[in-house]
Symmetry: C2
């Protein structure tokens, strides 16, 4: 179960809250990028970036020169899947169907060499499962240029909205069409690097993903 803290307890639309840790994991595992929130000079900054999960720890990375990682400290990571547009009978009740996870906490700069490597592996595999073992691993110089942050999943909230619009009672009599326009994300056909040696086959872990969507 997800623990409840003041900032993970929904004050509105409480029926959208989910408290299963497995739902949190599922939403994170199905994502490709997150939106990382940090405070820089007192102002919020929201940056799209990759991530990876190992158990109940989320890993983020970036250049050692990245302002958003240097500023880290207390951070918020949000992963959102937009599943459809909810078209109601009134403008007021328009909505979206979505699954989202928000994680709060202090970011920990990972110093241990093994954990740093494991974190980077998780981030690469999140984007492209099977790639880590198929490509050249990081050099000492590349590792030195990379900041790896860890964020515990201890303080997290999950929100999900699914299903048709919920309209005001009297609006159901309107002749207006109402329902959901679903959104789908799918993989296209792999596009080889133009300088790739002709005849280099697309590996199965990439080709199959491209086909299955």
């Amino acid at each position: 179960m997800l623990s409840s803290t003041p900032r993970t307890t929904l004050t509105r639309s409480k029926e959208r809250a989910r408290a299963d840790r497995s739902e949190l994991h599922a939403i994170l595992d199905a994502g490709l990028i997150c939106h990382l929130g940090v405070v820089v000079d007192g102002s919020p900054r929201v940056v799209p970036t990759g991530y990876g999960r190992i158990g109940d720890t989320l890993y983020l990375h970036g250049s050692t020169g990245a302002t958003s990682l240097r500023a880290a400290g207390d951070i918020c990571v949000t992963v959102t899947h937009l599943d459809g547009i909810v078209l109601a009978r009134s403008a007021f009740h328009h909505s979206v169907n979505y699954r989202s996870a928000m994680i709060y906490g202090p970011a920990r700069a990972v110093e241990d060499a093994d954990e740093r490597l494991a974190g980077l592996r998780a981030i690469t595999e999140q984007l492209a499962p099977g790639q880590w073992d198929a490509v050249r691993g990081p050099t000492a110089k590349e590792m030195a240029a990379t900041t790896v942050l860890a964020l515990s999943l201890a303080e997290a909230s999950v929100k999900v909205r699914q299903g048709p619009p919920v309209d005001d009672e009297e609006d159901y009599a309107l002749p207006t069409w109402a329902g959901v326009l679903p959104l789908q994300v799918s993989w296209g056909t792999p596009e080889p690097d133009p300088v790739l040696a002709p005849g280099t086959a697309v590996p199965a872990h990439i080709a199959e993903r491209g086909h299955t969507g």
Copy 2:
């Protein structure tokens, strides 16, 4: 052109920066939701939410009870389109192709009745073009329950990455497959509200969007 301020000037990957206001508008207009960053009790919070654009003003809305809107003040709005996964010959050079816009500034609570209505219209039309005139408009009670915020697009940055991986010179000799796995977002078939009167036709502005993706 987009003006340059300390927080909109890229310190890294400068080649990804775009300075055309038309690119900013295009990225915003192609989006459905943004990630809104606010500071609550000194900590960052990142919330997925809808938005709409009128000229160089972005509108956001929410319940008058929403913590993230009450806290507003200085905010950051980020809109990200993920276009593909960039598969390089080394783990280090893995990346994503994307288009993103970040807007910073003080949020202004909109008080003028006409501007509030125009802002809500823009937010609804962003999600579902053609819907505002097809559905019941907001009542006085609904308007009173809604906070509308305006954010100037004056301080904004745009980042775009496109194309194949960029590998280290010596890695091009590796036999590793490299390229881009594109991501596509498309509309599914409209799903009527189960309680909709049988025979209610899907309006053209929804049906056509569903087909064209």
